[in-house]
Symmetry: C2
Subunit: 298 residues, 2 copies
DNA sequence: ACAAAAGTGTTTCGACTACACCCATGG
DNA sequence: CCATGGGTGTAGTCGAAACACTTTTGT
């Protein structure tokens, strides 16, 4: 079947958690790469293998796991062909402490332009000029850039994070591009890099997760057992990088049958809020309608 | 990195076309399995390799290609571990003739219950009793079955084809289940089988494609260069297995900027219809808003 | 004339938005 | 008291869904 060339196969995990209204991703201790491991035998499925492997190396129990993508391009390997099967996994950061070989990193450290909750000027001052230079005289490139980065009144689609990263790569505006031998077209866009194509894999995970939120209640994997509506809102805002409309968000959530009242109340600054939990049926069946998002006006 | 065990890697392709308002899938000549081939070296990417391989073996030019899923469960292999990387590809059946080693099969031959354009009794007379028997006394199973198969007034979600197949498998109502050693719970549900887990892979493809249609214009890969609005409607109906509301469908399509008038008209029975084509920009950028579907009343 | 399909008008209904406002607690 | 966050009411807008109806061809 396969030719004589050797085949390497590895698993790469993008493990995501949200704490303090900030999405985090699990990396090696120095934050330079995603955790990866060999494809082990003896597990019923890849999922099970991955779950076991991550839990053993991090002391974390994982929630939802889904396959992201399989890369098998020859230029990824040192010799022969190397296959990387990538997974997205959701965890609750606070639940358990970490082992010593990995750490949590704010995912916007790698994609500052994806966080639109805070006003920043990256897109205006760096991305836009860089892309302009790259598209010089090419209207196709220009409209593509405008659409992806919401430039000429186009609106921002949060789930196109991967396409945005790929555009920056193509335009030579991220370090990985020149590392791979592409010409630069301006100042590099700020943002930490990762080993090999791990930043691209992380962008894939972000896109996937942001798209999922829109039509499936995946968030609960990331929440504590009980939470206020604002906690939930902050969590979704963290993932999508967008601010939501509070009043409408509450109504939207309450109109769905996702949550149930726990009877408890939160303490802290401001009026105490009801604490909710996800309904048991939703936890069992993740197949429900989903969570529409009421954006706040810019 | 990898342990000493040998690793097999293969590509499996689900190639889809629509002709005569019927979706078809490419199989081996006898319709018993999906086309599969070794992972060849010398291509820039898996996509490119797959495209080349399919085009060489079938004489077909492929349109859109996307990765579906990677299976690497040990029980799939004869010895060691076997990795199957599955792709979904869209083609235009009529464009070129086939080579001698493959054939087109109506995909509803494998999933008769997924075609809701025609009235049939499979769900009422076979699926429902079988699932009832399987869920006996287990309310969780019962609601799950009802939700997926639209049983107690629940509505039918066409993109959950994979979940439906998996439920039937779990309940022992498809042949593959007993082949794998599961107990049966009634008469088998009609529908041709495929080798190994290829039917499951096809179900994955159907789910993915049906979900895609909802928010991205992928259909154009399956259409001739020029077509009437009814042609387009029939194509989408074929894929989703649902009937659409004609008047609203037209308005919906026309309100988006997907199509342009070709100036030509169709002939045939009935009043001639304008022939449209997809706008060039849409062909270049498949990133648009997407196609909402106005269902017809049952 | 009739069948078959193209195409248009209009009304209803519900969802999403935005804005305004009141409530409860801690400091 | 005021800052912070919880929580409610409501009017406007937009798009989806349903129904009815006219138009143009082939037989």
């Amino acid at each position: 079947m396969t030719p004589g060339e050797p085949i390497h196969a590895e698993l790469i995990a993008v493990v995501v958690a949200v704490t303090d209204a900030q999405p985090r991703v699990l990396t090696l201790l120095d934050g330079s790469a995603l955790p990866a491991g060999p494809l082990e035998s003896g597990h019923r499925s890849l999922q099970a293998g991955l779950r076991h492997w991550v839990e053993r190396h991090t002391g974390h129990r994982l929630g939802h796991i889904e396959q992201l993508y399989t890369f098998a391009d020859p230029d990824r390997s040192r010799a022969g062909r190397s296959i990387s099967i990538c997974y997205l996994a959701l965890a609750n950061e606070t639940r358990t402490p970490l082992g010593g070989r990995v750490s949590w990193q704010d995912w916007y450290r790698f994609f500052p332009w994806e966080d639109r909750r805070v006003a920043h000027t990256i897109i205006e001052t760096i991305v836009k000029p860089g892309l302009s230079h790259w598209s010089a005289g090419n209207p196709e490139r220009l409209t593509r850039a405008a659409r992806l980065f919401g430039l000429d009144g186009e609106d921002w689609q949060e789930d196109r994070a991967l396409a945005r990263y790929e555009l920056l790569y193509e335009a030579g505006l991220v370090r990985e591009a020149t590392r791979d031998g592409r010409p630069a077209h301006g100042e590099f866009v700020p943002g930490a890099t990762l080993a090999a194509d791990h930043r691209r894999i992380l962008a894939t995970a972000i896109s996937r997760l942001r798209a999922r939120i829109g039509y499936r209640p995946v968030v609960f994997e990331l929440m504590a057992e009980q939470f206020t509506l604002l906690d939930l809102q902050r969590c979704i805002e963290a993932l999508t990088g967008q601010t939501l409309h509070k009043a409408n968000f509450r109504r939207l959530i309450e109109s769905q049958t996702l949550l149930e009242d726990s009877g408890n109340f939160s303490s802290g600054s401001g009026r105490p809020a009801k604490l909710y939990r996800f309904r048991a049926e939703v936890l069992a069946e993740r197949a429900e309608a989903g969570t529409r998002l009421p954006l706040a006006r810019p």
